[in-house]
Subunit: 337 residues, 2 copies
């Protein structure tokens, strides 16, 4: 790809603050001479019987065809029987690995310096099976499913990621002391893959201990790979170390090179439409998308512009203690380019 | 009770550093004129068929009879089919609530000041059901069980605890957006109990968000109540905020007023027998036991002596950056009494 050949990519602006922060991404990309032919997709207003979700068949086909996309926050309509839109996308598109980098943003102070963590989350099964039932009144059970197939592919992805990104260590996070069979299978797969990467230090850490060590000393960790729910929990914990989900990007990886970058914060309906939202998480997710497209030069330029704007501190949105609007903050980033 | 009538209590010194830190508790209690008639219990060396565990029938009967006990770390013998000793105790004794306070120790600096959190963990079911099986090769499932009975009693305990300890808020932690039936039932029980405590602020927080908020601003929380695995994770995270499991006490609550206080850190076989262990977690667990026995004066005296010894900083064990032995640290606490 060259930056002047338009690349087709799906864009889900999403709900609430989604459209505003998506607009910010478009402007910043344009300012950096990244020409994307955005295929904008909007979630339907009623359930599409082909997806059993408000996500339409066309929504899914767009990602499958373009193989790359960017997604804002989506609010799942409230009411019985509506599957989460975020999860439906992950499941229907078979987005098996969820990569969530968390790193300290220079100039934005938290209690932690130099955090640099990559959470790689299995994204399709585990506690998210959706299989639950009432056994008798007052006794309910849910099924956690772990398969060799899903565990192998996320483990493969994690070690390959570590290798290609110059990372030194992969920690497999589990609770196999309690769930010996399910988490045990997950670990077995990690063990197996680890053998193929002797240059990468490999360890197994029980999730409770991992959380304790993360808040005490995050520098103990590097790349972390784990089943779905632990990934959900640990990635939010890690985001908290550096300031929260408003500042951290993510990308979902599927078969056949599909990648859907995603801001995982909420749709913040209370501030929607008020030009107050912080677009950083979606912008950094966009940077991940550009890196995936091998547009590394532009990715790094945009990344620096975001980081420098935040570090200078003159233009910051309210969530970071500033008074800037979304558009002012976006303009400041564009001015850095 | 008066402090001079001996009270009978079960003591499990436990494994590894267990005997050393249990000795420290005995000395400190004696120095504070707390006369306990310790019923010392040792785990068996082979499986007792009546318990299907290395825990003997006598071990369990001792707690059931005395109704109060203190427990050091227990290492579960490695090998197939051995149930965790810690879990067997909780399950066989029906210890349904696990209370884990985490508070900043004055004088022991971490990244967080003024942490003051109480995790109340359902202790008998959830992801700890032990029900797992392979469906077909490469596909394994585990069952999470949530019952109305167990959820109600832990919710009742949490709100009663909040009320009797002057706490203002109870947060129920869940992932009911994914596990609508299981975590949904848990929340329903919390909702129901909350109605009986209008003076206590009640909220529901999704576990991932809870972890993010805890590391950003632990002061947002007060008492937290949750299913088993979330309690395991969140209590370790909270412990990390104030320095780790070596500094935090816990107590297991059962029916009929049974209470088993417990240091939840490991048995640290590497330093066992070397007079290097930090007895703080077991000492503070002992303080919880005394409070449970309504020996409040002695409990507060011992508590102050521990806190002051750590705050002064002259006698600290290696895990806290000092060079004191277990016995020196213990003596320093006794000297404060
Ligand atoms: C919105 C919710 C269903 C989702 C999840 O649990 O995966 C979110 O927390 C996330 O991490 O993307
Ligand atoms: C040792 C382990 C089985 C135990 C648990 O998972 O409950 C421990 O982590 C705890 O928190 O007491």
């Amino acid at each position: 790809f060259s930056s002047t050949t338009p690349i087709k990519a799906t864009l889900f602006p999403g709900d609430g603050i989604g459209p505003e922060i998506a607009e910010s991404v478009k402007q910043v990309f344009t300012a950096a001479d990244v020409v994307i032919d955005w295929d904008e997709q909007f979630v339907g207003t009623e359930v599409d019987p082909r997806t059993n979700s408000f996500l339409t068949w066309e929504n899914l086909q767009s990602v499958l065809k373009n193989k790359v996309g960017l997604k804002g926050p989506m609010a799942t309509p409230i009411g019985k029987g509506h599957r989460s839109l975020n999860l439906t996308l992950r499941k229907e598109l078979n987005l098996y690995a969820n990569v969530r980098p968390c790193y300290s943003l220079p100039g934005y102070k938290t209690r932690y310096d130099d955090v640099d963590l990559i959470t790689i989350r299995e994204n399709t099964e585990g506690e998210y099976s959706g299989l639950e039932h009432q056994v008798v009144k007052g006794v309910v059970e849910s099924l956690k499913i772990i398969t060799r197939k899903a565990s192998m592919r996320v483990a493969e992805y994690a070690f390959l990621y570590a290798k290609t990104h110059g990372r030194k260590k992969v920690s497999a996070i589990h609770k196999a002391n309690i769930m010996q069979k399910t988490d045990g299978l997950f670990l077995q797969c990690c063990d197996e893959v680890a053998k193929k990467y002797p240059e990468i230090y490999y360890e197994k850490v029980v999730i409770d201990n991992c959380c304790m060590m993360l808040v005490k000393n995050p520098a103990l960790f590097d790349v972390l790979v784990m089943p779905n729910l632990y990934g959900d929990i640990i990635s939010d914990l890690c985001a908290g170390l550096v300031g929260g989900l408003g500042l951290t990007p993510s990308m979902n990886i599927g078969e056949d090179g599909i990648a859907l970058a995603e801001a995982v914060h909420g749709s913040a309906p209370d501030i929607a439409g008020k030009n107050l939202a912080n677009p950083t998480a979606l912008l950094l997710s966009g940077v991940m998308m550009l890196r995936h497209l091998k547009l590394n030069k532009q990715a790094e330029q945009i990344h620096s512009a975001i980081i420098n704007t935040i570090a200078e501190g003159k233009y910051r949105t309210a969530d970071l203690g500033g008074t800037s609007t979304t558009t002012d903050f976006t303009k400041a980033i564009c001015d850095h380019l």
